[in-house]
Amino acid sequence: MPTFDYAPAPESRAVVQLQPAYGLFIGGEFVDGSGEAFTTVNPATEEPLAEVAEATTADVDRAVKAARAAYRGVWGRMSGADRGKYLFRIARILQERSREFAVLETLDNGKPIKESRDVDVPLAAAHFFYHAGWADKLEYAGLSGARDGARPRPIGVVGQVIPWNFPMLMLAWKVAPALACGNTVVLKPAETTPLTALLFAQVCQQADLPPGVVNIVTGAGGTGQAIVEHPGVDKIAFTGSTEVGKLIARGIAGTRKRATLELGGKAANIVFEDAAIDQAVEGIVNGIFFNQGHVCCAGSRLLVQESIHDDLVRRLKRRLAQVRVGDPMDKNTDLGAINSSVQLARVQEMAGVGEAEGAQRWAPECALPSRGFWFPPTLFTGVSQSHRIAQEEIFGPVLSVLTFRTPAEAVAKANNTPYGLSAGVWTEKGSRILWMADQLRAGVVWANTFNQFDPTSPFGGFKESGYGREGGRHGLEAYVRPDGSAA
């Protein structure tokens, strides 16, 4: 009997016109950077995609000045209804050019095309649509600290630094609420994934967004630091590692700058013995292997009730054998490439640590491409809270399996981490879901599902996972002075 191998079904990359080199987007134009240009590569093939300018402190200063001028001159005084029109226009263009964004995101990031096509880009457009609707209704958003009759006012120039795991989606999470509330932005995409942000700059031009409202500066940590330290920036919004988040918090201490930080996580995905087991298996897979595990809210610690541990692990292994690893441009690929050699080294190191600590490592048989950065979906059983792989964020396709006996023990283990971004609870008992959600110290608790995102739902962390919320009405609060006070 012939086997049902799926023939390659590659998405065409013809829709993307890559330029050999990209400049910075400042004051509505692409300009040269003063730093040393760097190369961004396709992590699935190591093929160089483009040269990208590096913004120096002087370039960042130009960008902040352009943002300030746009804030004072046009955007900060524009009516909410008019700001909304621009945001709706951007949202529609994102939808119209969705394939182009999806293909470019997959090329630059290594994530499967089905995820960039079905998750990242549609959600990014949804964030612009959602916030476009708020732009003229901020008085009615019920923001905390609002004064009767006072119109919430923008903060000013916002510096935004975003990570490489969801380049376009994180841009949308940051830019859409900032613009809806009347701020102007200087945004730095991650150095390994700058291309969709630069394509977004073209969308800003296409939408006739006034020059300087959105400025995009590319570069590595030094560029980010220049934004954070620039005295003309009123607020910092950062998504990334807890380590860098702490540096930012220290750096702005004692200044007038506000900050929202969305940092790391080590989420517990808690499966009770009465869970809908087949769907729980899907949820576990989605929780940790979605986006190669490059997800700050990934369900990287599986807490499973001891009574079903063996059965669940057996089902999980059987399911993982079905995961298709390989060319991210293939529409049937489930698990794509690790974003960079640096990240691959980190994942390899932590997997080695797990073995050295005595946990049992397992991965399905799967042929990995010879070029590019790859790591198979990996499972560690016999993990204890004291293991580093149960404590530290690995940010890769590696799941640590732990057990518990009672709900109280599950809560204690789930909360026993410096992080608190997300958690998952799997049980058919509704009362237990509510009790667990009340006990878990995590910004998002998913019940019988995982990694669901919606612009109407606030997202953010407890403890060292950061502060501030993104999305929903709560997310607006980070970008306004609700009492109407002047900047």
Partner: protein, 335 residues
Amino acid sequence: MSAQHVDVDATRRARDLLGVSRLTNLALTRWTHGLPGVDQVGLEARAGALGTRSIKAASKAWAIDTAISMIDLTTLEGADTAGKVRGLATRALNPDPSDPSTPSPAAVCVYGDMVATARETLGDSAIRVAAVATAFPSGRASMPVKLLDTRDALAAGADEIDMVIDRGAFLAGRYLEVFDQVRAVKDACTRADGSRARLKVIMETGELVTHDNVRRASWLCMLAGADFIKTSTGKISPAATLPVTLVMLEAVRDWRELTGEMVGVKPAGGIRTTKDAVTFLVAVHEVAGPDWLDNHWFRFGASSLLGDLILQRQRIRIGAYSGPDYVAEDAPSIY
């Protein structure tokens, strides 16, 4: 793959599996209600994800031929005549007159009184005759009538029996009654010479409504000796949805792990296009496993699906769409 006719006493095996000395309704209730629940949102998400698989080139050609070979080409109407059944059977023998390499469907599925006609046209070909029985489609008749209906179809030459469960009994929690009826019909599927017709058990999932019910009914039917579990009669909507079929594929997969035996799955009703059929095969492949990718273990109950599969098959062969006028149709609507 040869038919695995394992002779088992269903009641004795059920007692063993349930760990009880006497099979009671309470024991069956506890057992079926002890199965893990099904979360509808998660199930539909998984079905949606399987639906995004992109099957191209050689895989698609293979899937089309496999799907054709899995069809139970069906006509179940009050208006059925010998002429229509002969036409349907002739089409099964020669599905695409323009291409003799086209595989034949697995079976022709008719009412009991049409079995002899279908058998006569099919002659000694490998195509089987399946008969619906047990007061299809409602199942609202006494047990003697249902058994007689079954034996009648068998005597007329049926190779396979498609029975319906008593949904009323199931929904009222009378699981032992459903179990006993399936077991009795299974016994009636044994011919005088000791050979057996395979028994497909229609759960009419559209009337069971919840996925938990579908899972429980699947296990109950397998426990009672079903050779196939089948979604629908085709008379009730919704019929064979992908989520419901996923629940059944999970059930046969888990049943094999428990007992070592394979049970077939037959979604029936509402599967009309090649794209739908390929998605179902993807689900079979990824949920139950490749062993089920054979018409001994997986069937499509369908009438119009064959035409679209042939259209797509011709497209692959000649590189262009031919159109419905180039697909022979022996059972067009008479209305």
